[in-house]
């Protein structure tokens, strides 16, 4: 198969960037999109040009590294990851536009690679639980209902790829934060930090410069793990609950400057 590729090239964060057109020939229909880009890079290297920078790792749809906007849709035309997208999905001779995730909170490092550490900082703000050290607890000491566990697992299947942010008109990270907050709020292990978590993660999300949710549900439509926007409603509930359940200290105490929930 042959393709005309229009690929975003940008030398670094300060560079302006532009679309550059490349022709590729002899592409096998069973190559994945990432493998096709490997072929492009081989060609570029042979010609002595700078190869494309793009991200991938597992190539099996579980790590969330691959991140390309293909013809205006994050992860391309199917609802999976780029690494699980095959060239047979495109008509022979097609022109394909490839861009990076675009958001203020995901600055471009080079070409198609963006810095997604904003997600890590949101997790640091509240996406954790307290566990006791010492010997491991017996497996089934904490009983969790089957339905509850399934719903928590649905939320936990988020691979933090950031496609939700890339797809959202407002570059909002709500689906990501909703998945993380819901996952932990649904499990007994997540209860000690539950009230703080919702507030802290929403505050961190705002601080990183993500937009707010317009309830357009573009995020759900591109999420490779099919995370439901119902979790966004759940995050809204968690946030309301946390705001109402503001703990009022019995004695005035100095605020902890490291506490992110305020």
């Amino acid at each position: 198969m042959t393709f005309t590729l229009k690929i975003w090239r940008q030398n670094g964060p300060a560079d302006k960037g532009r679309l550059v057109t490349y022709q590729v020939r002899d592409i096998s229909p069973s190559m994945s999109f990432i493998e096709m880009l490997d072929v492009v890079n081989q060609q570029l290297t042979l010609k002595g040009e700078e190869p494309l920078a793009f991200e991938y790792d597992c190539r099996e749809g579980i790590c969330g590294s691959c991140s390309l906007v293909i013809d205006g849709v994050p992860h391309g035309p199917d609802r999976g990851t780029v690494c699980q997208l095959y060239m047979r999905r495109f008509p022979d001779g097609a022109t394909i536009t490839i861009e990076p995730w675009r958001a203020k909170a995901f600055p471009i490092i080079k070409d198609l690679v963006v810095d997604r550490s904003a997600f890590d900082r949101i997790m640091q703000a509240g996406g954790y639980i307290s566990v006791n050290t010492g010997g491991a607890v017996d497996g089934n000491v904490l009983l969790i209902g089957k339905d509850q566990a399934e719903t928590a697992m649905d939320a936990a299947s988020c691979i933090s790829c950031g496609a939700c942010v890339a797809a959202c008109k407002n570059a909002s990270a709500m689906l990501f934060v909703a998945a993380k907050v819901s996952h932990l709020a649904l499990l007994p292990q997540g209860q000690p930090e539950r009230t703080k978590r919702a507030k802290a993660m929403v505050a961190a999300m705002d601080r990183e410069g993500f937009g707010s949710c317009g309830n357009q549900y573009e995020c759900e439509a591109v999420c490779p793990k099919s995370i439901s926007v119902r979790f966004i409603a759940k995050l809204n509930r968690e946030f309301l609950r946390a705001t109402i359940e503001e703990p009022s200290p019995l004695a005035e105490q100095p605020a902890d400057p490291h506490d992110e929930s305020h």
């Binding site: 229009k6 906007v69 849709v73 203020k104 900082r121 507030k199 105490q253 400057p257 305020h262």
Partner: protein, 244 residues
């Protein structure tokens, strides 16, 4: 993480005041959304009752003028309602403009190619329809509440000595330009409401496997009812079905 550290310290001075902490939460993106949703629902409630009240046009001159007189005979209630509405509108616009600006900033460089997969037209034009609504509402107030467009007609009285609201709107919708402006206003209102109502339920955290279809349909349905009611009044007069 440096800049955020600085912010946290600045905020920390007020942390011991629960009140300030509470407003801190409200001014987050999510808190603002909740207030936009609540104020929007309040406005939507007003719009529904406004439409129902106006349907009395179909009961004739006496009914509508008596209704208008009934409202104006309670100046305290009327002015409280007006002040409350103004405050709600102010809150709604202020917070939504602030959010819209933050949202534009969240993606400084746009895509060269971008395709929506799911977002409805209404959901994509909320800021536009909202801004057009402001213009329409101002025009509507100037036209029918203050009566500046046609002062002579505005202050006429009917046979019972009540202000002739009926005659006033029948006169207005004889004018094709006014009919066009009001129909356009209804289209804009319908678009804004159809996304806004369902969206506000989600913003307030309402979600249920069995009720989701109801929630998602509620916005377009209520929007349709409001628009149909209002448009019926405009067209009935324009086509002479209701006349003085």
């Amino acid at each position: 993480m440096e800049p955020s550290g600085v912010q946290v310290k600045k905020a920390a001075r007020f942390d011991s005041l629960p009140m300030i902490r509470f407003f801190g939460h409200i001014l987050t993106s999510l808190g603002s959304k909740v207030l936009i949703a609540l104020s929007g629902l309040g406005l939507a409630g007003f719009v529904v009752f406004h439409m129902l009240g106006n349907l009395q046009v179909f009961e004739g001159q006496d009914a509508l003028n008596a209704y208008a007189a009934f409202l104006r005979d309670m100046p305290m209630a009327l002015w409280s309602a007006r002040v409350a509405l103004l405050a709600i509108v102010g809150l709604h616009i202020g917070l939504s403009v602030r959010l819209a600006i933050q949202n534009r900033r969240a993606r400084p460089a746009g895509y060269v190619v971008h395709h929506y997969r799911r977002a409805s037209l209404a959901s994509r034009t909320m800021a536009l329809t909202g801004s057009l609504l402001v213009l329409f509402i101002v025009f509507h107030l100037v036209h029918l509440t203050a009566g500046w467009l046609d002062p002579e007609f505005h202050n006429r009285v009917d046979l019972r000595g009540q202000r002739d609201v009926f005659g006033n709107i029948v006169h207005a919708f004889q004018n094709p330009l006014l009919v066009a402006i009001y129909l356009a206003g209804q289209a804009v209102l319908g678009l804004h409401l159809s996304h806004a109502l369902s969206s506000s339920l989600q913003t307030l955290g309402l979600e249920h496997p069995m009720l989701d279809r109801l929630f998602r349909g509620a916005g377009p349905l209520v929007a349709l009812l409001v628009v149909v009611g209002n448009v019926a009044i405009i067209l009935a007069i324009a086509f002479g079905l209701v006349h003085a």
